[in-house]
Every structure is written in structure tokens, then in C-alpha cells.
């Protein structure tokens, strides 16, 4: 055990977030209400800037605290992506709760703490850190789901998420303990040096950990909770939940699988592919039957999970594509949920029929939603196309031909229900005149929508900088190279 001041410097971005979180709690305690969103935004931005790899040597991953946690390089990118996810969500939160008629000041602290959990989860190199990160994140998410205490569905969402999440965490923890039992270490990199192939407990151990993660990313068959929870969760937070927490879980799962197993076990591989294929097909088919936008996006997120899992099963190239995908998905889905939140005062406003004719009433609103939906459907030149294309491309190169073709087919079929929403927005007359006050025209969510829509377009036309950045971080990460990459 040796304390190293260098480690502390390396983890400054995370410390920054922690300080922000504590300050937010204090400001909340002393009723500095108007300060809260600014403080949260400032803290997240500061942490993001601190994590930016400015020096040329920053390309490499640096393990800190006795190899328990990763910083620098790819880990920095993950940090930045997650902070960005939270920042994007921040645009929509205050306005939403104001219109829902509920003052919820603690959300800012919860948001920041959940980001800390996510970063710990994604950048961990140790089972213990993974678990602590996962729980920090999850507990914050449970609270988020139940924040709108006046809505029954929100309470229901919180409880459901909590109960099922704990259930899944049980499996995860069980798997971790087994893995520790076999290898005698909790560190990913040390595990890869232990030959575990002959051990009968090895497969169940990895499988249980996988199950824990599959629950968090809502992959088939652990997806049941998703629609109910997303529907009940306050809308902008549902967007955050659907993107940032999944991003963190995907990266953690990828790092875990790739670092502990130099060669992906064949059965685990097929479980991943199977879950991916069924998620894509199931998510897209069921989404087509939804009339509630939040449920629709929930099922669509199950489908998107399928695409990402396919990428995770496709080796290194797939993993790069996965990180890229998660980043793009964060942008477009936070935007889509944000827009739904802007057009919502009561719960029923998320019904598709309430959106009739909105594209003509509020042109920019309709355009922005169309951008996000087209991007989610994977139509060029929007960002969603390139990210999806890269994932399928990686799958094809890993000779997962059938899975890739099913994926392309599912996404083509999936376009249908996104388009249905656009039909409602543009080609259908609104029957009720009651929702004329909507959507919200507040400053902050409007800016948020513009930023996100612009990013969706820009990253579709210029995806290269981000993609090559991720790629170069992979080259520079010595640890990943060691672990069979």
C-alpha cells in the first residue's frame, strides 16, 4: 500500500466532480436554489476540461491506486463522454420540473453523483471498484426514477427499478465473488494472466457478471423493466438514464470481457450475439406497437442495445465502434427525450396523438425532433447512420454475417415507427387545442435542443475526428494491447 500524489493528480477530474456534488448538497441545504444548475454545469464542465488529454503523452491509459482504476487516454474519453451526457441533460431538467410543478433541488447533486458512479464503473480495473461504481450509479438512478412523487407512475418506476436492479446486482455480485474465488484477485489485468479455462466455475462466474450488465443495458431477456421505468421516470432524466448509464455499462462490460479474457469464450460470445440479435428484433417489433413516445423510445433503446452488443461481440474494431455508437446515441437520445419533456406537462402528453401537427405549429420543434428520429432510424447523413454503419461493419468483418444482416433488416423495419411519429407531427391534424401552450419555449432547453441537433448533424457529416480520436486512444493504450488487442 503506497500513496502516490501522482495518482491524486490523475484523478483530479473525478475529485472535481465529488467536490461539485458536495457543494451542490450544501447549496441546496442553504437554499441557494438559483445557483444549483449553474454550479452543476460549471462543475461538470471543469471536470471535463481537466480530463481533456492536452499533452501528447496523454494518449496512454494510466492505471492509478494500485491498478484499481484507469485514467488518461481512453478512460479520459469515457470521462468526457459521460460528463457531456450529464451536461446535455442538464439543459432540460430545470424547465421540466418547473412545468411539472415540482421543485426538486436535489436532482443536481444526484446527477453529479451518478456521473461519478458511472465513471468509476466504466474506468475500473478492479471488481470492487466496478461494483462500487455500479451501485453509486444505480442508487442515484433509482432515486431519479422516483423523483416526481406526485405521479404514481414515477413511484412505480422507482420501486420497480430498485427491486429488479437489486435482483440483478445480486447475480453480478455472486459472479464477482466466484471469479475472485477462482483467480484470487479482483484485478482485471491480473485475471487475464490466470489460466481459468479448465475451471468449471469460470463460465458461471463470467455469465453472472454478464447478466448483471445485461440487466443494466436492458438487453433481452433482462429488458422487461425498461419501458415501465422509462415511462415513469421524469422525461429528461429518462434520457440520461437511457444513454449515460448504458454507455458506462457497455464500456465496463467491454473492458471486463476484453481484459479478463484474451480470447472471448465461445459460449459467452454466442450468448452476447444471441442476446444482441433477439434484442434488435424484439425491440424493433414491439416498439412499432407503442403509442406512448417514452415507451416507444424505451423499446427502441432495447433495439439499440442489441446493435451495441453486436459490436461488443466483434472484437477490437467492434469495441471502438461501440464507444463511438454510445457517444452518438447519448447525443441523439438525450435530445429526443429532452424534446418529449419540453412538450409535457401531464403524463399523457407523451402519447403520440398529442404530438399531432406539432411540426407545423412549432416548426423548429418539429425539425429538431425529426433530426433526432431520423438519426435514431439511421438515415444518412445524420450521426446515427455512421455509428450504426460502423457497428455492422465491424460485425461483418468478424464474420457475423447473419447477425449483421438481421441487424440491418431490423433497423430498416425499425425506421417505420420513428417515421410514424414524424407522420403524426407533420401529416396529422391535432384534435385537441388544449396543448397550445406547449412545447416549452424556455431558453435553456431550447439551446440544448439546438446544440444537440447541430451535433447530430455535424457528427454525421464529420464523424472522423471523434472516431479517429477513439481509434488513436486504442492504439495508445498499452494495457489494452496487452490484453489481447
Amino acid at each position: 500500500m503506497q500513496f502516490n500524489i501522482q495518482d491524486l493528480i490523475q484523478t483530479m477530474p473525478l475529485v472535481m466532480l465529488l467536490v461539485t456534488g458536495l457543494l451542490l448538497m450544501l447549496s441546496d441545504a442553504f437554499n441557494l436554489r438559483s445557483l444549483l444548475p449553474w454550479l452543476a454545469g460549471l462543475g461538470l464542465t471543469a471536470s471535463l476540461v481537466l480530463a481533456l488529454p492536452l499533452q501528447p503523452g496523454d494518449q496512454a491509459i494510466v492505471p492509478v491506486y494500485n491498478n484499481m482504476f484507469l485514467t488518461g487516454g481512453l478512460a479520459s474519453f469515457v470521462h468526457i463522454a459521460l460528463c457531456l451526457g450529464a451536461l446535455f441533460s442538464l439543459f432540460f431538467i430545470q424547465d421540466f420540473f418547473q412545468r411539472a410543478g415540482k421543485v426538486v433541488d436535489e436532482i443536481y447533486a444526484i446527477l453529479v453523483f451518478s456521473v461519478i458512479g458511472m465513471i468509476m464503473l466504466a474506468n475500473s480495473n478492479d471488481l470492487a471498484v466496478t461494483f462500487i461504481g455500479l451501485e453509486t450509479m444505480s442508487i442515484c438512478l433509482y432515486v431519479m426514477a422516483a423523483l416526481l412523487k406526485t405521479r404514481q407512475s414515477s413511484n412505480e418506476a422507482g420501486l420497480k427499478y430498485f427491486l429488479l436492479g437489486s435482483f440483478a446486482t445480486g447475480f453480478l455480485l455472486f459472479g464477482m465473488s466466484m471469479l475472485y474465488g477462482i483467480t484470487g484477485t479482483t484485478q482485471f489485468t491480473l485475471m487475464s494472466q490466470t489460466d481459468m479455462s479448465g475451471n468449471i466455475l469460470f463460465l458461471p462466474a463470467v455469465l453472472f457478471i454478464l447478466i448483471g450488465f445485461l440487466f443494466k443495458v436492458s438487453a433481452f431477456p433482462f429488458h422487461n423493466w425498461t419501458p415501465d421505468v422509462y415511462q415513469g421516470t421524469p422525461t429528461p432524466l429518462a434520457g440520461f438514464m437511457a444513454t449515460a448509464s448504458k454507455t458506462a455499462s457497455f464500456i465496463a462490460l467491454g473492458m471486463f470481457l476484453h481484459q479478463t479474457m484474451p480470447v472471448l469464450d465461445e459460449k459467452i460470445f454466442w450468448i452476447l450475439v444471441g442476446s444482441a440479435v433477439i434484442s434488435m428484433v424484439y425491440g424493433n417489433i414491439v416498439a412499432a406497437r407503442q403509442t406512448n413516445l417514452k415507451r416507444l423510445l424505451a423499446y427502441s433503446s432495447i433495439a439499440h442495445t442489441g446493435y451495441v452488443l453486436l459490436g461488443l461481440a466483434s472484437g477490437k474494431e467492434g469495441f471502438i465502434a461501440v464507444i463511438f455508437y454510445a457517444f452518438i446515441y447519448t447525443i441523439m437520445n438525450v435530445g429526443a427525450f429532452g424534446l418529449i419533456g419540453m412538450n409535457e406537462i401531464e403524463e399523457e402528453d407523451a402519447e403520440v396523438s398529442r404530438w399531432n401537427g406539432i411540426g407545423l405549429r412549432k416548426p423548429w420543434f418539429g425539425v429538431a425532433m425529426s433530426v433526432f428520429l431520423f438519426s435514431l432510424a439511421g438515415i444518412p447523413p445524420l450521426a446515427g447512420f455512421m455509428s450504426k454503419y460502423q457497428v455492422f461493419f465491424a460485425a461483418v468483418r468478424s464474420e457475423l454475417y447473419v447477425a449483421a444482416i438481421i441487424g440491418v433488416l431490423a433497423s430498416v423495419v425499425g425506421a417505420y415507427y420513428y417515421i410514424r411519429v414524424i407522420v403524426n407531427m407533420y401529416f396529422t391534424k391535432s384534435e385537441t387545442e388544449t396543448s397550445h401552450a406547449l412545447p416549452s419555449c424556455a431558453m435553456s432547453p431550447t439551446i440544448g435542443v439546438f446544440v444537440l441537433a447541430a451535433l447530430t448533424l455535424a457528427l454525421g457529416i464529420f464523424p472522423s475526428p471523434v472516431y479517429t480520436w477513439i481509434e488513436s486512444l486504442f492504439q495508445g493504450s498499452g494495457m489494452l494491447a496487452m490484453a489481447g488487442f
Binding site: L163, L203, Q390, F393, Y467
Partner: protein, 643 residues
């Protein structure tokens, strides 16, 4: 000038951006029709000038290319926004930007006082941008960008007048049909990339099974976009959009992109004769089916729509015979006369609408004798009708005759081509007949609208494009004189312009019939067209609308089938949509409800009776979810251990 070439792509985009952004935020701008129309038109005229300039100074065999920036550059995969102006893309570029410009001008008058004027021109400019990407892109991914883009724009423009649900449904139908094609194209792209490592047209070379699958998938993609059996059903419904859109997108440009794509991939197609025959057969079937349907339609735009499907079928026949450049030739002549026909029908509909006397301004049964009131529209419409019917020496004669000639010559390769040729001949007769019918019933014959109606000729903004297109429809055919004239030396398109046998431009199968046969074929074509037109004209001038009854008795019970479009929509409804709904309602839902719930309830009952621990911890659905998760765990664990 080289430095200005990127503007071919960027200018429509900039136009769309200006109109879109300005229109989004300034409601006063939305009503400045002149300004919007000028911006939008200029944004398309500029690329036309640039393409024309390149075309005029083009050195044969030396494609001009330009590069915007790199789209995606990774270690294993890179693709650029780079474009190439070669023989094929220049020709298409001229058609798209040229006709696009005319239709922009026409639209200014046609869309006058429309609520969404700026939206309309925004979509139109975006369409031209996408279309330019589609035809000029030097790789498949940029083509795909355009491919999806034109689909989306067409979708928005079909549903432009959203007031009635049918139009929204038509838009949706178009989108879904196109997505099936997109799927095929995407898969083809994956195959091409894995086998050649590039998506550039100039680097694609395939053989064997790969070539077969790619050709088949590209063909499926083309049937979606270019409205062939079995995916053609969306095009007639697409007529719900504004008429200039039907002219631009659903007649002259977008629907021909499938043909263009196949021509680009000609080298791959030539390696798989089986697929080539399939292409020809599908084309032939589509052509005759659509022509038969067109005979029994009374909506002027529907007739034109089915005639478009039918003419696209002709182009596919040419592709199937391996006469790729002939297909492009027909694309060009068809663009002239069909755009003119649609714009003419738009002019008619405009006039009928402004009378406010008829329920359906598109129904030819309430028209008649309009030629007296609308001389320009009537004359240009008649010219184009004669052109599409294949009357010598109008453009349709040359291109259609060349297609039929090539098909006949291809008969040496496979006997199936003779059958397709015969079908083509019959279709040519039918085409001459139904086009004469619709034109006669619209402009000549008895006046069938209320006596007090005084339809007016449209404004010059609308008639000038009509005259230009009619002029092109007259002379366009001389670009491809038949082989009998100077042994093909005067067939500029096929023998000169597109004669380079080099991928990626266009490779033709060498097809030659001896001169005597050619003369005979030309003679047949000539007579067939004249005969069809003459027969229809005499029939309808004698009996007017009652002539339909004669046609009805001629076809017998078949007529009802034609009238109802061969019940294809009903068939799709019963064979595809209904089963899907059924699957949803009776298979998946019950699976959810009965099977899974049953499973859950059953096991829940076990848990319940075994002890009340579970019941107290959880309530309602959560229990089921948890149990489902548990079942998932058990299955996965079972697979991991025993599988």
C-alpha cells in the same frame, strides 16, 4: 471553373439552408414568395450551368473529379465526399439540374399562395442536393446518402398536403417500400466492401457467387426506388404530392436512380446472365401490367403514374438486355416528355381547381375540350403524348425503338429475350392507346365540365417550362439515331458518348442485329405507334367518353381487374399486412399474454404456495419481471453449462 465544381453539390444545400433557417425563425420571410423562389431557383440553376460547362468542355474518357472532404477515415474503412463527373454522371446531372431548374420556376407559379411555400422549396432544394449526391458520388456510400436523402424528401413532399390521411398513408407506404430497397443496397454494400475492400465505383470488381448476390441485391434495391414489381405500389399513391413534385421526383429523376445504379454496376451485372434475364423479365412484366392498369384509370395523374411505371419497365428491359446506355437514353427522353406531361397535367389541374366547379380536379371524365381554353398546355401535352407513344420523329420513337431492337438482338443470347421483346411490343401499342385516350379526353372531345366554367391558361412561368420540355421531347431523340443510319455512327449517346467500355462508367453488352432485321423492327415500331394513336384517336373522337365502354367490352371481365389495379394493393394487404397484424395480435401478443403470463402465473403460483416470502417482497408486475429474468438466467446458465 474547376474550383467552382463543389458548388454543384453545395449550392442546393446552401439554398436549402438559407430558406430553412430563415423560414424557421422569421415568419414574415415565409410569405415572401418571390424571394424564396428566386433563392431556390438560383441554387439549382448554378449547378446546371456548372454541369453544362463541364459537359461542353469535357474531354472524352477523362472524368473530372472533385473532393470536398473526408467523411470517414479509419484504419480499415475510409470514404470521402468525393464526386466524379464522367460520361454517365454528366448526362444524369444535366437532366437533374436542368429539369430541376425548370420545375423550380414552374413551382413558383404553381405553389403561389400555398401555406407552406418555404417548406416546399426547402424540400425541393434538399432533393436536388440529395440527387446530385446520388448521381455524382464516386463511391457507394455517398450514393447511399443521396439515395436515402431523395427518399426522405420524396416522403415529405408526398405528404406535403397533409390534410387527408390518405396522403399521409401514401407517404408512409413510399417510405416503407423504399426501405426494403435500402436494406438490399446496404447488404450489397457490406458484401462489396468485404470482398473488395472499397466502395469506390472504380475499384469494384466482383466475380462468381459474390457478383451474383450483389447483382441480385442491387436489383432489389433498384426495384424499390424505380418502382418495379413487386415494389411498384408506392408510386401511383405518391401522386398525392404536388404535381411539380410528381414531375421532378416521380417521373424524371428519382425513380430513374435505380436504373442509373444498375448501369453504374453494369460490369457486375454482365457477369451474371441469370440476373440479367430476371431484370428484363421483371421489367417486361411491370411494363405491361402498368400499361393495362393505365387504360382503365380516370385520374389524369394516376394514368401518368402508371405510364411512368410502365416506361421504367422499358428501361429495365434495356438493362436486362445489357444495353445499359440505351436505358440511359430512354431515361433522358422519358425525363423530357414525362416531365412535360406531368407539368401539363399540373397546369390542367390548376385550371380545373380555379373553376371551383368540379369535385375532383383530376378526373378526366369532367374535363374535355380544354384545348380551346389552354392552347399552350394542350399543344405541349399533345407533343409529349406523341413522343411517349413513339411517333416518328419524336424522341420517344428513337429510344423505345432502340430498346426493342436491342432486346431482339439479345434474343441470340437467350430465347427469353424474344418473349420480353414481344411483351414490349404489346406494351408499346397499349402505351400509344392509353396516352392518346387520356390526352384526347382532357383536351379534345366534348366539354364535360359545367357550362359556366371558364378555365384559364396558366401563367408564362408555367407555360415556358412546358414549351422548353416539349421542344426537348421533339429533338431529344436525335441524340440516338438508330443503327441503320450510318451503321450507328450517328447514335451519339450509345456509340459516342457512352461508348467507353470501361468500368465504372458503363459497359455495354455488344448487341448487333443485321441491318435488314433492324429495318423491319423500325418498321414495326413505326406502325405500332401510329396504329395505337390512330385507333385511340378515331375511337374516342367518335364516341368520346362512351368509347370506354367499347374498351370495356373488348377486355371483358379483365377490365374490372385492370380498373382495380389487378388487386395488387388488396393482395399485399391480405398477404403481407394482414398476416403481420395477425402475427402481432394473435401470435406475439398472446405469446406475451398467454404463454409468458401463464408461465409466470404458473410459477408464481408455485412460489405462492411454497411460501409467502415472494408475495410479501414484491407485488404486481415486478414479480413477473423478476421471474422472467430468473428464467432467463436459468436458460443462459443451462446453455453455458450443458450447451
Amino acid at each position: 471553373m474547376e474550383a467552382l465544381l463543389p458548388l454543384i453539390i453545395l449550392s442546393p444545400f446552401i439554398g436549402a439552408a438559407i430558406i430553412g433557417i430563415w423560414g424557421l425563425f422569421s415568419s414574415s420571410f415565409r410569405h415572401q414568395e418571390k424571394l424564396i423562389g428566386t433563392i431556390a431557383t438560383l441554387a439549382v440553376v448554378l449547378p446546371f450551368v456548372l454541369v453544362l460547362n463541364t459537359f461542353l468542355s469535357y474531354e472524352h474518357g477523362k472524368p473530372v473529379s472533385f473532393h470536398l472532404f473526408s467523411w470517414m477515415a479509419t484504419k480499415n474503412f475510409s470514404v470521402d465526399f468525393s464526386y466524379v463527373l464522367d460520361e454517365a454522371s454528366l448526362l444524369m446531372g444535366l437532366i437533374v439540374t436542368g429539369i430541376g431548374s425548370l420545375i423550380h420556376i414552374y413551382s413558383i407559379a404553381y405553389m403561389h399562395h400555398d401555406k407552406g411555400f418555404y417548406r416546399y422549396f426547402l424540400y425541393l432544394n434538399l432533393f436536388i442536393f440529395s440527387m446530385n449526391n446520388l448521381i455524382l458520388g464516386d463511391n457507394l456510400l455517398v450514393l447511399f446518402l443521396g439515395w436515402e436523402g431523395v427518399g426522405a424528401c420524396s416522403y415529405f413532399l408526398i405528404g406535403y398536403w397533409f390534410e387527408d390521411m390518405a396522403k399521409a398513408m401514401a407517404a408512409q407506404k413510399a417510405f416503407v417500400a423504399n426501405r426494403i430497397g435500402d436494406f438490399a443496397l446496404l447488404v450489397a454494400m457490406f458484401i462489396i466492401f468485404t470482398s473488395t475492400g472499397s466502395l469506390k465505383f472504380s475499384e469494384i470488381s466482383l466475380s462468381g457467387d459474390v457478383a451474383f448476390w450483389v447483382a441480385l441485391l442491387v436489383f432489389i434495391a433498384a426495384t424499390g426506388k424505380s418502382a418495379q414489381i413487386p415494389l411498384y405500389v408506392w408510386l401511383p399513391d405518391a401522386m398525392a404530392g404536388p404535381t411539380p413534385v410528381s414531375a421532378l421526383i416521380h417521373a424524371a429523376t428519382m425513380v430513374t436512380s435505380g436504373i442509373y445504379l444498375i448501369a453504374r454496376m453494369s460490369e457486375v451485372f454482365l457477369q451474371v446472365p441469370g440476373v440479367m434475364i430476371l431484370v428484363a423479365v421483371i421489367g417486361g412484366l411491370t411494363a405491361i401490367l402498368a400499361a393495362l392498369i393505365a387504360i382503365a384509370q380516370n385520374d389524369i395523374k394516376k394514368v401518368l403514374a402508371y405510364s411512368t411505371v410502365s416506361q421504367l419497365g422499358f428501361m429495365f428491359m434495356a438493362l436486362g438486355a445489357g444495353a445499359f446506355s440505351t436505358a440511359i437514353f430512354h431515361v433522358m427522353t422519358h425525363a423530357f416528355f414525362k416531365a412535360c406531361l406531368f407539368l401539363g397535367s399540373g397546369s390542367v389541374i390548376h385550371a380545373m381547381e380555379h373553376m371551383h366547379l368540379v369535385d375532383d380536379p383530376q378526373d378526366i371524365r369532367t374535363m374535355g375540350k380544354l384545348g380551346k381554353y389552354m392552347p399552350s398546355t394542350s399543344k405541349t401535352f399533345w407533343i409529349s403524348t406523341l413522343a411517349i407513344a413513339g411517333i416518328f420523329p419524336l424522341s420517344g420513337f428513337f429510344s423505345k425503338d432502340e430498346i426493342l431492337g436491342k432486346l431482339f438482338a439479345a434474343g441470340h443470347e437467350h430465347v427469353m429475350y424474344y418473349a420480353v421483346w414481344a411483351v414490349g411490343m404489346i406494351t408499346a401499342v397499349l402505351t400509344a392507346f392509353y396516352m392518346t385516350r387520356v390526352t384526347f379526353l382532357t383536351f379534345n372531345g366534348k366539354k364535360r365540365f359545367p357550362e359556366e366554367g371558364h378555365p384559364h391558361e396558366s401563367s408564362p412561368l408555367m407555360t415556358i417550362p412546358l414549351w422548353i420540355l416539349a421542344g426537348l421531347a421533339i429533338v431529344g431523340g436525335f441524340l440516338g439515331l438508330p443503327a441503320v443510319v450510318g451503321h450507328g455512327h450517328y447514335n451519339w449517346i450509345s456509340e459516342h458518348w457512352l461508348s467507353i467500355s470501361k468500368a465504372p462508367i458503363i459497359v455495354n453488352r455488344i448487341l448487333h442485329a443485321d441491318l435488314t432485321t433492324e429495318w423491319i423492327l423500325i418498321g414495326i415500331s413505326f406502325c405500332v405507334a401510329i396504329g395505337g394513336v390512330y385507333f385511340a384517336y378515331s375511337l374516342y373522337s367518335k364516341y368520346d367518353l362512351q368509347a370506354d365502354l367499347k374498351v370495356k367490352s373488348f377486355f371483358g371481365s379483365m377490365y374490372r381487374v385492370m380498373e382495380n389495379k389487378f388487386f395488387i394493393d388488396e393482395f399485399y394487404n391480405a398477404a403481407i399486412i394482414r398476416p403481420f397484424v395477425w402475427l402481432g395480435n394473435y401470435a406475439i401478443m398472446p405469446f406475451d399474454k398467454k404463454f409468458i403470463d401463464g408461465l409466470v402465473n404458473g410459477s408464481g403460483y408455485l412460489v405462492y404456495s411454497a411460501g409467502s416470502v415472494f408475495r410479501q417482497l414484491q407485488s404486481g408486475l415486478v414479480q413477473k419481471y423478476a421471474l422472467l429474468m430468473f428464467i432467463g438466467v436459468v436458460v443462459l446458465l443451462g446453455y453455458a453449462i450443458f450447451g
